[in-house]
Symmetry: C2
Subunit: 454 residues, 2 copies
Amino acid sequence: MTERLIVIGGDAAGMSAAAAARRRDPELQIVAIERGAHTSYSACGIPYLVGGLFDDLDRLVSRSPEEFRQTGIDVRTRCEVTAIDLERRTVTVRDLDQQSDGEEGFDQLVYATGAVAVAPPVPGADACEPVRTLHQAERFRARLERAGSHHAVVIGASYVGLEMAEAMVLRGLDVVLVERSTQVMSTLDAEMAAHVQEAAEGVGIRVMLSTALEEVRHDSEGRARSVLTSEGELPADHVVLATGVKPATDLAEAAGLEVGPSGALRVDDRQRCPGVDGVFAAGDCVESRHRILERPVNVQLGTHANKQGRIAGVNATGGDIAFPGVIGTAVSKICHYEVARTGISECEATDAGIDVVSVTVKDRTRAGYYPGSGPIWVKLVAEPVTGRLLGGQIVGVEGAAKRIDVLAVAVWAGVRVGELELFDLSYAPPFSGVYDPLLVAARQTAKAVREAGP
Amino acid sequence: MTERLIVIGGDAAGMSAAAAARRRDPELQIVAIERGAHTSYSACGIPYLVGGLFDDLDRLVSRSPEEFRQTGIDVRTRCEVTAIDLERRTVTVRDLDQQSDGEEGFDQLVYATGAVAVAPPVPGADACEPVRTLHQAERFRARLERAGSHHAVVIGASYVGLEMAEAMVLRGLDVVLVERSTQVMSTLDAEMAAHVQEAAEGVGIRVMLSTALEEVRHDSEGRARSVLTSEGELPADHVVLATGVKPATDLAEAAGLEVGPSGALRVDDRQRCPGVDGVFAAGDCVESRHRILERPVNVQLGTHANKQGRIAGVNATGGDIAFPGVIGTAVSKICHYEVARTGISECEATDAGIDVVSVTVKDRTRAGYYPGSGPIWVKLVAEPVTGRLLGGQIVGVEGAAKRIDVLAVAVWAGVRVGELELFDLSYAPPFSGVYDPLLVAARQTAKAVREAGP
């Protein structure tokens, strides 16, 4: 008899799983259940849509439900799984438009529900609509165009908060970015984050650090009016909460699936939920092994969601691929700077009790005489004595950030900074000085490792 | 008694050696002898100067003779070493302005004479002045501005030939690029080189392949007038010969230093000339070990010259650093494409009798909806069975080329394409699709390796 795979969640992880399963098994029944109206869309692209870098919302959809259906995947949008029965191997599905419930049996299950926004626990915060789905983005964009709206406040200076702040500056709004901690972008060390803050301020964003959100005030029609913070009240026609998301595990937990120490679903390296045969999970809702920290972490990025989804789909259909883990690579464009990181930061090392040597260099992205040359800062974090590269951070103008992948491969492969400094990296005046900034940083770090001694 | 280091050649390798020696030993007598008027200039930047991307010739000088003199290095410009006596440990130095000869003793010697242009053996070719030094570049630029000059012919479609052709297009000239072989850029495989040719033609360069130079014709005042090729005569107010350079080894050979199979000076991994104590060589005149081909090669690039020079300077002053070899990394910007390569090409593998699996993918540099997204081609070359990455080539729009360093580290570290496809590389819409083109290429190559079987 034909087997049946049910996929819960129709975004990156879920649809990667469905597509991979389909490629491997043309006969398999595949049902993908998605709460929203879209499949496989790029949430990462929303700030650029909001900022007006492009206008057509559909360009964020990499494959539509109809395209998936043409490959024989039964995509059910506007449907929500409300319960999973692992004993009977069924899910309860609510049709959100018809308001009817049904039951669907499965042989294999891929759980890929993603993450949900967490509103800060202050009055009025939960009345702010998140900007995570395409529908929410569309509505948000329409609100921005409302006559007489001038002031926007973003709460949380994560990369998403910064991207949204920049997008609203591009829309001509006055933007204040409110951050509780003492720096923007907590994934960077403070001195690197300071350059990002400078870039944000350079385009006119007012950055308020060490400032707590106390209340979001709305008018009688539910429109945002102001934000009350520990540093006073700010006018706010628009409020964006970028205060974090949490893995959407409720449904899985109710079914008895296990949550790990990171707060996300526990999976093994085959994306299998431990102890339950034929049940897989992938994407923002699961935890992944951090190869440097050597512990499970929950990283919400499309790159992992796609890979893990594909692996779940392959393994659910009798294949055998392992997800090798993550090393915390991330990249973003914030105003005129590109920002990237991989491995562990100095701050993460301290928190984890790992002793490190770290060095920051300032250099230029291109040969000094070549047009467009500008500053780049590279920070490397290495293991004492061995000099093994454990992490890197990069901030700089155009051309800076993608260099992070060079460091990512070096971190992954266990390269020592003393080796890296003599690696045969490319050089031509449009792309770097004769010593690439990464080589300069590796050399300085190797020197610091030697000087620190054994 | 204070020791004395003589450095022959005042460009990248020589002055890196002098500077490194000075940093390690403040007492050492250091004499650097340079035939030209400049030290440490960026020959790689000459096409951009010619093209008018910047105007000030001095910007190509990274450190002037005067700056080196301030660190106590006795820089003698416009002086040429005409003989080396390894027995007596002396060099004969001719002062080119005074036309006088003198003798200088040394304890340690660094030989860093670089390379010299090779004119093709056809009538009139040796009357074309090369464009390799700053003075030559300055004269060439002045000639371009001469009234009534419209036609330029570049002989040789290497990266230098292409860069010079583009530079003259930027100056408003009609440019024909004549290449003897069947493709441009012989360092790339033919199908990758075809994209580069398309880019060159896109800016109006006429590319003539399989065309031999037969004669360069000059008028009675010595100005270029036309170029005679196997495909006919071409009008030519300017002729650039980019037909290759050879290591400047004559002086060394006359002194008894050994030349290796690549035609360049043989050195060990400490940059020592074998069999002669205290004599080092570095830069374009030496051969380096190719880590993939496992044989000596002569690669003329500033990046190696700088590293080898520094290593020679360190080792000449009692230090001990090894040059780890090269893997053939190179990058260039040709018209609207960036072009890069590392490791071995499919063609090189064939020539060397190495069996490989290779795959080319076409992708986009950024998310499709993000402004500036454009084509990128990635070709990977891997070892059968193991899938170890042996080389990569990249052609594409802005943002494409520096990805070569990711592959360079992977090649260097012996990463397999099946591992690489799941590496944690960065993703954000301004920088790539959710799967970076390198991951897409790695995945396709891993598949091809599996399909090829053991």
